[in-house]
């Protein structure tokens, strides 16, 4: 029988089906960070049990860590305590722990792929909704709550009802300055933040085939923002090439054996999805959000829609615009901004820094703009230096911070002040997400770079044109 990629991976991990209940799903790899794990470890302690498979578990510190002076003790006592708890728990349960200062430290969804932990056909979970990132490799990867973290620590399994399947196909070519982030924001703007709730998405078509692995990670990362549990892309030569030689990937004979399996990981012809959606690559332009959820996005040259043209609750829409202090019908281009954030599990990889640098090269940061450039990991940080990107950034008036989640969720000191506008390459523009009262405009690294130079919302295509002249 023809099967979808999703069904192949899911079905091969079902330990037990519970009648009129969820499936018991075996988890190949479990990523752990400091914020959603302490209560789960406490649960294990109360039951007097150990982590069942520490060798399938990996821990890092990222959500709560400072991005300046990481060599000093963490100043905030609550953050320090949470970080210490993870270190102690990792030690007690023999889990590899890549804490602050460790060469492999970084955002959990950046370091998983970087170190070959993320593999095709695997089931991967983490107490973080952007775990969907790892689906870029043809893995089933999704975020879980702390009770579920405790389930996986204690039994390497989780209970999940099997989601429905959706395929989003985009063929055609992308226009200049249209990045994977724009593709994702476009899809979310068309589907809304709940348009894929209950589904697991497979992305298919020319646009995704032509995308780099890092671009695919950005798209899969944002699957949760349209409500999907996760998103995945069938592995291909690009995927295998990316993985080969990475530390935790199979090697030698094991690699050859695994490759045979990985090559079967695609949706069979004739396999049926519960829902199919198609878009055309040429229709997408650089995107920006104007509201307080990621579905409130428009092509950057468009204005803010009117409440009457928006599906759903008018009151909710108006509340959102009031928070942003924007009005219906206004242009996005030209709006003054105060902060720029480049980073996060969405756009904190080397290609994102290359894109940002390509646009700011030869320009200067606008004087009134505060820019936080935060690499996703130490490896990304190293590449920024080695490739000469740091020089370009410094020449344009930018500084680099140390790796972490940073202003994406503002758990540390990287908070956008109340009322200020930030063009951010992160994933959520919810009220207060980047600090109490902060106003977030989600966009690609190119749109962020353009805003950083001009100090206002700017179409990156304008600057790219100037560069070629």
């Amino acid at each position: 029988m023809s099967k979808t990629l999703f069904a192949k991976v899911w079905d091969s991990h079902v330990v037990q089906k519970i009648e009129d209940g969820p499936d018991v799903l075996f988890i190949d790899r479990h990523l752990v960070h400091e914020v959603t794990s302490p209560v789960a470890f406490l649960g294990l302690k109360n039951r007097n049990i150990k982590v069942l498979y520490p060798e399938r578990t990996f821990a890092t510190a990222d959500h709560n860590t400072p991005t300046l002076n990481q060599h000093l003790p963490v100043e905030d006592p609550l953050s320090a305590k949470q970080l210490q708890a993870l270190e102690d728990n990792a030690q007690e349960h023999n889990i590899p722990y890549w804490g602050l200062g460790h060469e492999k430290n970084g955002i959990v969804h950046v370091i998983g792929p970087e170190n070959g932990i993320t593999l095709p056909g695997a089931t991967i979970v983490c107490g973080d909704s952007h775990t969907s990132t790892h689906g870029a490799f043809g893995a089933i990867a999704f975020g879980i709550g702390t009770s579920e973290v405790e389930m996986v620590l204690s039994s390497q399994c989780i209970m999940q009802p099997k989601p429905k399947s959706m395929r989003i196909t985009i063929n055609g070519k992308l226009n200049p300055a249209v990045t994977p982030k724009d593709v994702a924001l476009y899809i979310i703007s068309r589907l809304s933040t709940s348009g894929a709730t209950g589904y697991f998405v497979e992305y298919a078509g020319e646009v995704f085939r032509n995308m780099s692995m890092e671009g695919r990670m950005t798209v899969c990362n944002l699957s949760i923002e349209m409500g999907a549990r996760g998103g995945m892309i069938a592995p291909d030569e690009k995927t295998f090439e990316y993985i080969k030689g990475r530390e935790f990937a199979p090697k030698g004979e094991a690699w050859n054996e695994t490759m045979k399996y990985w090559q079967t990981l695609k949706t069979d012809k004739g396999a049926v999805f519960d829902k199919e959606i198609e878009f055309q690559g040429e229709d997408i332009e650089p995107m920006i959000t104007y509201g307080t959820n990621p579905g409130m996005g428009v092509g950057i040259s468009n204005g803010i829609p009117s409440a009457k043209d928006v599906e759903g609750g008018v009151d909710t829409f108006k509340k959102s615009l009031a928070y942003m202090d924007f009005k219906e019908g206004e242009d996005m281009l030209g709006k003054k901004i105060d902060f720029v954030f480049l980073g996060s599990c969405t756009n904190g990889r080397i290609e994102d820094f290359r894109a940002f640098a390509s646009l700011v090269k030869g320009h200067k940061k606008a004087a009134h703009v505060t820019a936080w450039l935060v690499p996703g990991s130490h490896k990304v940080e190293e590449a920024i230096e080695e490739e000469g990107i740091l020089d370009i950034l410094q020449e344009a008036g930018f500084e680099l911070r140390e790796p972490g989640c940073s202003a994406c969720l503002a758990m540390n000191d990287d908070k956008i002040p109340a009322g200020k506008y930030a063009v951010s390459t992160s994933n959520r523009n919810f009220e207060g997400r980047q600090g109490p009262g902060a106003r977030t405009l989600l966009a690609s690294p190119l749109v962020a770079a353009a805003a950083a130079i001009t100090g206002k919302v700017t179409d990156p295509r304008e600057l790219l044109q100037t560069q070629t002249v």
Partner: protein, 198 residues
Amino acid sequence: MAYDKFNVLKSTAVPMPIENVDTDQIIPARFLKATERKGFGDNLFRDWRYNPDNTPKEHFVLNNPIYSGKILVGGKNFGSGSSREHAAWAVYDYGFRCVVSSFFADIFRNNCLNVGVLPVQVSPEYLQQIFSAIEADPNTQLEVNLPEQTITICSTGDQESFAINGYKKENMLNGFDDIDYLLNLKEKIKGFAENTPL
């Protein structure tokens, strides 16, 4: 973690007719630094509930004494965003045992079921009826009957059924915990792991 059993809940309800209430609103990230599950109710809807100087915002529904109860009624797509279970803990810790909406985000729904908060999904029309009933009389009682899988507006008798899978229903009725179930499957899981390379 053990939680109270859920059977039939009859209570007044707190209306929150806003769509896409995300978990960053339910509990902002800066309150996720705890290493124990304690005190999250104090920061439920923190930034909607309090001004920056920690004085209560008068117009927010949780600060309005005419609304109270163990049932929270929210707009469509309740609980979207971050997977933080702290959001479900905050809802529980504040005193809610049931959240009603016309649509829930997946992870929040799972988290609720895992911590003893019953998510009840109703039709958009019925949700509107609930909001109207509470608007007309804040003392309107709702009855959520888990064994029968029904929700009733007591004053009008309007009733709707809701779905929950049989396994989770048993768990909620008895206060059972998934981890106990999984630990009893350990031998089967070990067999499975041996055949699944790292």
